[in-house]
Assembly symmetry: C2
Homo-oligomer: 191 residues x 2
Amino acid sequence: MDKYHHGNLKAALLKAAFQLVGKIGSEALTLRGVARRAGVSHNAPYRHFKSKEDLVAALATEAFRQLHQFLKDAMASTDPAGRLGAAARAYLRFGLANRARFHVMFHSAFDRASYPEYVAAYRDVLSLLSEMMHARGDLNPKEIAIGEELIWASVHGITELGIAQRLRYGKVEELEELVDVAVASLLRGLT
Amino acid sequence: MDKYHHGNLKAALLKAAFQLVGKIGSEALTLRGVARRAGVSHNAPYRHFKSKEDLVAALATEAFRQLHQFLKDAMASTDPAGRLGAAARAYLRFGLANRARFHVMFHSAFDRASYPEYVAAYRDVLSLLSEMMHARGDLNPKEIAIGEELIWASVHGITELGIAQRLRYGKVEELEELVDVAVASLLRGLT
DNA sequence: ACCTGAACACCGTTCAAGT
DNA sequence: ACCTGAACACCGTTCAAGT
């Protein structure tokens, strides 16, 4: 109720930013717009973020944490054999359901090296893939290393092009089928 | 020499925009900056482009035409059997050599439906892939349709992540190897 | 500590005016 | 036709001031 000492402005700003980005797209996001939506003056955000870049980095970091949780949930509800496929489809669905957010995660212009928490959140997502590849037990280290890159890039590519509505097989079920075929073919191709 | 009646301002603006985008990145591109670089007043561009979006669309269209030519050249200097692989590696190399341009081609915010020449230039690039898939003669229509999407998405994904320096196998030769393995595995997986 | 209003240098876009 | 300068409503950022 104490309007002046907001207490939770940082969280409120991030929430407002997520809403705005979903509404107007990542390119149109402005710091002043975020402040407006959070009901504070246009430079109140500077108490919590030292620049617009800083806010965007926090947004991308938080989004990677959400993706991490989403993938873990999808993996937990599947037996080990189907886990990789389930995670890949979950990656796709997360992107399709959060288009602008996905854009912020991968295409915002901030300098990644300056944001170690971003790098950590990002690494956590990729670690899930690495764990699954190791858990299979049928691949040697070199195959695992190449397989991770190939599978990630393919699923990511399908997600990017699906989000941009650039694929003829553009419905969610069709895109999931593409993901399944890609993962299966690439795994077979490794050995 | 006639400085006033420029005659070729549209081409000069596009050239300046390409240079600028390569220098400062696609996100930082401004219409006023382009005009400045072309040596004209900040609203001279409005004689040739009705908005910034319009200029960006023209930029993306021209970039797709360049990619089309680049792919055709790569294909022409390879025998039919290796053509698909050569084109895929060329796609990758084009992206790596023109990072900001690639970003404009795929991630600018203009409304594609309003720019038919963009759609045409884009389709021309994808037609090359379609032709190559048909020319193989070992695939049925459904396999071709799915194969096109899979191969394009995978090569595109490797290119996107390679450009963003997000892959451990990040050197050009390593990325080309990933492209080769992806294309071969996906083709084998189709049948 | 947290927030505000005024100010600065930018930006996209429009308009009236110049050749 | 093609180009310019002034103007408007924005933006990110800084600063001095308020509680």
